[in-house]
């Protein structure tokens, strides 16, 4: 069963991360790379880290006309900062995997629809 993990950053997390010393930042990245390595056999698409929410552009096709706005479509304090795709047995295995994620504090696990 394939799931997409959406990694979600909070304002607090971003602030805390920005305040880290360069060596600490490097260590934080190292832990993330290590996580990808540890779960390499389950990861079917490494996905990507996304640029900041301020770089997002949202197109709404449901209005009277096509409207393009600046910024992320969620005006929230939490934004998706990256994603990856995994292939595991069931939701419990996905949960176990996600519990060891060493970075941002919120993760959405979404099953991939089977066509």
């Amino acid at each position: 069963m394939k799931y997409v993990l959406m990694f979600i950053e909070t304002e607090q997390f971003a602030k805390d991360f920005a305040a880290l010393e360069p060596a600490e930042k490097e260590e934080a990245y190292r832990r993330v790379y290590q996580w990808f390595e540890d779960h390499a056999d389950k990861i079917t698409n490494r996905g990507s880290k996304l640029q900041g929410a301020e770089t997002a552009t949202t197109v709404r096709l449901d209005g009277s006309g096509v409207l393009t706005t600046d910024g992320p479509f969620i005006e929230g304090k939490e934004v998706v900062s990256g994603f990856t795709e995994i292939d595991v047995e069931d939701l419990d295995e996905a949960l176990r995997m996600v519990k060891t994620w060493p970075a941002c504090p919120v993760i959405e696990i979404r099953p991939v629809a089977q066509m």
Binding site: E89, D90, L91, D92, L95, P111
Partner: protein, 385 residues
Amino acid sequence: MVRDHAGRLAGALVSLLGDFAAAEDLVQDAVEIALKRWPVEGIPDRPDAWLFTVAKRRGLDVLRRQENYRAKLALLEPPEPSPRDDRLRLIFTCCHPALAREAQIALTLRVVCGLTTAQIAAAFLASESAVSQRITRAKRKITDARIPYRIPRDDELPERLTEVLTVIYLLFNEGYLSSTAERAHSRDLVDDAEWLTALLHGLLPNEPEVAGLLALIRLHRARTAARFNPNLVLLPDQDRTLWDHAAIAEATALLTRTARRHHAPGPYQLQAAIAACHSEAADWSRTDWPQIVVLYDMLLTLQPSPVTCLHRTIALSYVRGTATALTELDALAGDLDTYPLFHATRAQFLRELNRPAEAHAADERAAQLTTNPAQLDLLHERLAN
């Protein structure tokens, strides 16, 4: 009675079909047919076999075109009782942490206890369509997100079991509190909670917190006869000869056995131990208050909560005097200002300290905050005196 068989049937069907939603629909069909026909035709000699046969026939009917199911359904037989049967897997699936709490509760009542949507809706004063939607959505999530149908691994069991016990504890509380209000239409959820906990205890006899919750529920139930006359009677004023002392002795023995095997009691065991202290006292004045304060202190280290602190101050007033207890109670004002029991307790303390005007004001505040008719009756009685 339907409850016991419905759970088994659901467990057997999910196991066999590997399709939670389809299995659950068959069970519900069979249960509804039984509820319609048994009152008219009488309860069959073997209700379990009856339900299994109906489910099987319905299944073959509904799924006639799906050969896969047909072959599997043909294998369906009433199962031999086994120590860790399919129902345990069912409970863990229904209480999976990926489901919303309300969905966990509705699904457990429906799938494990075999309640109909109408019964669940009545118990929670919700509309039938809302409950049915909640259940449908939950079942879809179990299938689509592939929530597994299994007993969690040993390393996951404590966490998942906590989730299951929380669901049952909420049922118990809902039933216990609502029993003080309108009883006519509300199903006895305490009964369902006890049944579920007993089932869980039978399946996981070595889990101390399951035993703790079972003892807690049974200790509270043992006092039911004295709790209403017909209005709510508070613990100090209850006629203790009406308590079920055999049930109290049994629940206390269960608690003692569990405590002997495990050294650090969890929150349910501690709450049960507090209930046991009350249940064993011949009257209110002979309650072992020092012991109760100690138990509350232990509970607070595990689960800090202002409401637990509030209950502790009542015990404390008997050990270290009302003035000390009032000081500790007042420290909770920030957290509990909108909680009626806080003001009612405060009123009680103030009366004991001979400050009637302040006591009156506190009772008035409590009466403004509660909508529970039984609590209101009590408060109005106090305010009139």
